[in-house]
């Protein structure tokens, strides 16, 4: 059961990562990146690493996304491709 969940999470991460790299709009890419981080939180929990999961959720997914979004806002949307 757990294995299937991990495979599902992995597939989600890979799809999100490809989307993050290839997306046309940077905002979408940032969101996809935070999806990768958030799904990795699930993997960390599945691998019995609650400390890492909390840190990744607050620092990795939360703060990085916030910092990216604020700086993106400051650049007035970056430039779209």
């Amino acid at each position: 059961m757990m294995n299937y969940l991990i495979i599902l999470a992995g597939a989600m991460m890979i799809i999100a990562a490809v989307f993050a790299v290839e997306a046309k709009k940077i905002l979408d890419a940032v969101i996809a990146m935070s999806v990768v981080s958030l799904v990795s939180v699930f993997l960390f929990i599945a691998m019995r690493a609650p400390d890492v999961a909390i840190t990744e959720a607050s620092v990795g997914a939360g703060l990085v996304t916030a910092v990216f979004l604020v700086s993106l806002f400051k650049m007035k949307g970056g430039d779209e491709q």
Partner: protein, 256 residues
């Protein structure tokens, strides 16, 4: 063409990593007996012999005994990850704190504004009222996380980040809100100094930098594990101040 080469290089890297996987113990089969973590888990580092350990033989193993709720001479945190982060490998954590310090410093130097950037937009009513209620709760939660770092998952870094999130919320909800650099800088600097001074006290008392000079107490109690909670509180406050400073820099602009 560029894409083709990129795919080639990435594929080569992935191939290299995957070919290495065969030499790593397969997933879920890690053998801790061959790793130093065994001693961290059983809290028996002092009982080990370096030379014998390196030769991979005569590993001194203590019979399994109760650790939770007992006094353990060597190390007193219930959370083994914390015991590694803040005690066995505390020097790494000092470096980690320094990286964040450097990053906050760098963002300040690069963006370096002295007043709040105005976008001329009012936050809506729901955000404003809920911020008023949430901010104290968030700060309390962050403090809880770093105070209990040696007992439960969490610790100084997530705790500090959660506190910084409170200040981010304040920035989002209030156009006028502005933390002064002097206050966050003072908290950041003094807490960083506290960490180093705790380490230097260890050097003075025990002869080793970051030596745990306080009694370990009973594993699982709030007041236990010697310097670990002190260090984690210092880290939590420092990270909170640092990241709040970073958020401040992101919301500021240069005068004029």
């Amino acid at each position: 063409m560029r894409r083709f080469y990129a795919i080639l290089i990435a594929a080569a890297l992935v191939y290299m990593l995957i070919s290495f996987i065969s030499t790593v113990p397969s997933y879920g089969k890690a053998d801790l007996k061959e790793r130093v973590s065994d001693a961290f888990l059983s809290k028996s580092v002092n009982a080990q012999n370096t030379k014998a350990w390196m030769e991979g033989k005569a590993i001194h193993r203590q019979p399994a005994k109760e650790i939770y709720g007992k006094k353990v001479k060597e190390e007193g945190s219930a959370n083994v990850v914390t015991s590694i982060v803040v005690n066995y490998r505390s020097f790494d954590t000092l470096g980690e704190v320094t990286v964040l310090f450097t990053a906050a410093l760098g963002v300040g130097l690069i963006l370096g504004g002295s007043r709040r950037k105005q976008y001329g937009r009012e936050a809506n009513f729901v955000l404003k009222t809920s911020t008023g209620i949430l901010v104290p709760l968030i700060i309390m939660f962050g403090a809880y996380i770093f105070v209990h770092g040696h007992l439960t998952p969490g610790g100084g870094f997530p705790g500090g980040t959660i506190i910084a999130m409170a200040s981010l919320l304040l920035y989002l909800s209030d156009e006028k809100f502005f933390l002064s650099k002097a206050s966050t800088g003072a908290l950041e600097g003094s807490m960083g100094g506290t960490y180093v001074i705790i380490g230097l006290l260890g050097l003075a008392i025990g002869g080793y930098f970051l030596y745990n000079f306080l009694p370990n107490g009973v594993v699982g109690n709030l007041v236990s594990a010697g310097i670990v909670p002190l260090v984690y509180v210092a880290i939590g406050l420092k990270v909170g101040a640092e990241l709040s400073g970073l958020v401040t820099d992101l919301h500021s602009e240069k005068e004029g």
